[in-house]
C-alpha cells in the first residue's frame, strides 16, 4: 500500500491552473522530495495532499483513506509543517505541543512524555515554559516541527522546513527528519535547497507550472543530463581555447585561471588533456572531474536555462 497516492489532482484559482493533473505515489517509509521554482504549484499541491485545500478534480488517498470522504481520519495519520505554519507565540513551547497533541486525542500522560522527549531532542527543554514570542526564528521552527510530530505521525509533510534558518537549527531539523524516517515515518518534503533534497530524498519530483516534469531518484535524474559532466583543468602556462576543443567536448568555459570542459565522456577528455600536456610540455596544476548535478537537472527541467 502506498502511504500517499494522488490521482489526477487539479486546482484552479480563477483562470489560473495552479495544479494541473498531478498524479504521484509515495511508498511507505520513503523520503520524497518535491522541488520546483517559485510559483510552480508546490505549496498548492502540499495543501491538497494534506486536506487544507479541496481539489477541483482528482483524489488524494492517505494510507488507503480517501481525503475527500474521510478528511479527519486521513489527517490523523499525518503531521504537517505548513509554509506559513507559525506556532502560537502567546503560549509557551510546552503549551503549543499540548495543544497540538490534544487535536490528535493524546492523553495527558502521553503528551507529557512525548513533549519532554521532543523538547529535549530539539534543545528546547530548558525553555519549555517560556512564551514562544521570546524565541528566535530557528527556535520557533523547532517548536513548529515538534508540534507536527508530537503524535508520532505515520506521514510527515514539510513545506520548506529549513528556509532561512541558521546552521544549527537546520541540522537539528534534518536530524529530526532522519530520525522520524528511521522509525518508519514517510516524509514528503518540499524545498528550495537542491543539495538538501539530493542528500535526504530517495526520489524527487520536479514540478513546473503546475505539472510534473520528472519523478525519479536524484542519481537517475542527474544522469539524464550526462552532458553536464565537467572537467576543470589548469596548466602552468596559458593554453589557448582552440587546443582544448577535443571531439567529445560540448562546451568550454573559462573560470578564473581554470578551463571548464563539459562532456558526455569524461574518461576520453582526461586522456586527451594528459596527451596534450605531454605533447606541448605543459604541467597540469589542477585537474578535477564533476558529475552531473541535481541542480543542473532541476534548472534544465524547469526551463531555467535555455
Amino acid at each position: 500500500m502506498f502511504a500517499i497516492k494522488a490521482e489526477n489532482l487539479q486546482k484552479k484559482f480563477n483562470k489560473l491552473i495552479a495544479v494541473d493533473n498531478i498524479s504521484l505515489d509515495v511508498k511507505e517509509g520513503e523520503v520524497f522530495g518535491f522541488l520546483g521554482p517559485n510559483g510552480a504549484g508546490k505549496t498548492t499541491t502540499i495543501r491538497l495532499l494534506t486536506g487544507i485545500l479541496t481539489p477541483d478534480r482528482g483524489d488524494v488517498i492517505i494510507k488507503g483513506i480517501h481525503m475527500r470522504t474521510n478528511p479527519i481520519d486521513a489527517k490523523m495519520m499525518m503531521g504537517v509543517i505548513p509554509e506559513t505554519g507559525n506556532v502560537y507565540v502567546d503560549l509557551t513551547a510546552e503549551e503549543n505541543l499540548f495543544l497540538a497533541g490534544k487535536f490528535y486525542g493524546l492523553s495527558k500522560q502521553v503528551l507529557q512524555k512525548n513533549s519532554n522527549e521532543l523538547l529535549s531532542n530539539l534543545g528546547l527543554y530548558e525553555r519549555r515554559n517560556d512564551a514562544v514570542k521570546t524565541f528566535s526564528k530557528g527556535m520557533k521552527q523547532r517548536v513548529s516541527i515538534a508540534c507536527a510530530i508530537v503524535h508520532n505521525p505515520q506521514i510527515l509533510f514539510l513545506d520548506e522546513p529549513t528556509e532561512g534558518l541558521d546552521v544549527q537549527s537546520r541540522r537539528l531539523i534534518i536530524k529530526t527528519i532522519n530520525d522520524m524516517n528511521k522509525k518508519g515515518c514517510t516524509i514528503f518534503l518540499t524545498t528550495h535547497n537542491i543539495e538538501e533534497a539530493n542528500k535526504l530524498c530517495e526520489r524527487v519530483c520536479i514540478i513546473n507550472k503546475g505539472k510534473i516534469v520528472a519523478i525519479d531518484s536524484p542519481e537517475k535524474l542527474k544522469n539524464t543530463f550526462k552532458e553536464t559532466q565537467s572537467i576543470e583543468v589548469s596548466f602552468n602556462k596559458e593554453v589557448k581555447k582552440e587546443l582544448l576543443e577535443f571531439n567529445s567536448i560540448t562546451k568550454i568555459d573559462r573560470q578564473g585561471d581554470k578551463w571548464v570542459l563539459y562532456t558526455k565522456n569524461p574518461d576520453k577528455v582526461v586522456k586527451d588533456i594528459v596527451s596534450l600536456a605531454e605533447k606541448k610540455d605543459l604541467k597540469i596544476i589542477y585537474l578535477s572531474t564533476s558529475g552531473p548535478s541535481l541542480e543542473e537537472a532541476f534548472v534544465r527541467l524547469t526551463g531555467g536555462e535555455k
Binding site: 481520519d73 506559513t84 505554519g85 490534544k102 486525542g105
Partner: protein, 246 residues
C-alpha cells in the same frame, strides 16, 4: 464524530486560552455592561424591571459577539491559521469551536451581571428555566453572529472591527431595548422582527417579569433559526475565503 467533537472542544479551549483570557478582553467584558448601565439607566426615571431585560440582552449580545469576528483575522495575521487547518479538523470544527468559546465567554460575563443586578436591585425571576434557556440560546446565537462577521477575507483585525460595529450597533436600536416592543408601531415593529436581539429581549421579559409580546416557543424558534442562518453564512464564507489572506 468523536474526532469532530474533540476538535470543537480543543479549538474552543485554544480560543479561550489565547484570545479570551487576555486581561483587556476580560476587563472590556466586565466594564462594558457597567458603562451601558450607567449610560442608559442612571439619572433617568425608568422602572428597573422594564429596563433590565433589554440591558441584559444588550450586555449578552455585545460580549458574545465581540471577540468572534477577530479570531480568524488574528490567526491569519499571525500565520497560525494554516497550521490550525492542518490539524485533524474541518472548517466546521473551527467555526463551532469559535462559537463555543464565544458562548462560554458570554455566559461567564453575563451571569455575574444577573447575580449582581438581582441582589442590588431586587430583580425578580419568574422562570429560572426560561432565563437559563434564553441565556444559552442567546449566547450561541450571538457568538454565531460574531463568527459570521469574521467571514470577509481580511488579515487586518481593525477592518473587521469597523465592519462588525456597522452590523452590530444598528441592531440594538431596532430590537425593543430602548423602546419596548409593545410600543413599537408600523415599520419599526416590522423591522424589529428581523433582529435576533428582539426575540432574546422578549424571552428575558418572559423569564424575568412575564411581560412578553411573543409566545416563548416563537422566541426559541426564532433564535434557533437565526443561529442556523449565521452558521450557514459562516460555513459558506469561511470555506470560500479560507485561503485568502494567508
Amino acid at each position: 464524530m468523536l474526532s469532530f467533537l474533540r476538535g470543537v472542544m480543543v479549538t474552543a479551549e485554544k480560543n479561550i486560552k489565547i484570545y479570551y483570557k487576555k486581561a483587556p478582553v476580560i476587563i472590556f467584558g466586565l466594564l462594558f455592561p457597567l458603562f451601558m448601565f450607567t449610560s442608559f439607566y442612571m439619572g433617568r426615571n425608568i422602572d428597573i424591571s422594564i429596563f433590565f431585560p433589554g440591558f441584559l440582552a444588550m450586555a449578552l449580545f455585545f460580549t458574545s459577539s465581540s471577540v468572534g469576528p477577530l479570531i480568524t483575522p488574528w490567526e491569519k495575521q499571525a500565520g497560525t491559521y494554516e497550521r490550525l487547518l492542518s490539524f485533524p479538523v474541518s472548517i466546521h470544527t473551527i467555526i463551532l469551536g469559535d462559537v463555543l468559546a464565544g458562548a462560554i465567554y458570554g455566559i461567564l460575563i453575563t451571569s455575574p451581571v444577573i447575580i449582581i443586578a438581582g441582589v442590588l436591585f431586587n430583580i425578580t425571576i419568574t422562570s429560572i428555566m426560561i432565563l437559563l434557556v434564553s441565556l444559552i440560546l442567546g449566547t450561541i446565537c450571538f457568538a454565531s453572529l460574531g463568527v459570521a462577521l469574521a467571514s470577509p477575507s481580511v488579515r487586518s483585525p481593525s477592518n473587521i472591527m469597523m465592519f462588525s460595529s456597522l452590523i452590530r450597533f444598528p441592531l440594538i436600536f431596532i430590537s425593543g431595548i430602548f423602546i419596548p416592543l409593545q410600543e413599537l408601531q408600523g415599520a419599526g415593529r416590522i423591522v424589529s422582527y428581523f433582529s435576533p436581539l428582539t426575540y432574546l429581549v422578549d424571552m428575558f421579559h418572559t423569564g424575568l417579569d412575564s411581560i412578553s409580546v411573543f409566545p416563548v416557543a416563537l422566541d426559541i424558534f426564532a433564535l434557533i433559526l437565526f443561529t442556523c442562518f449565521f452558521l450557514l453564512i459562516s460555513s459558506y464564507f469561511h470555506k470560500r475565503n479560507m485561503m485568502k489572506g494567508l
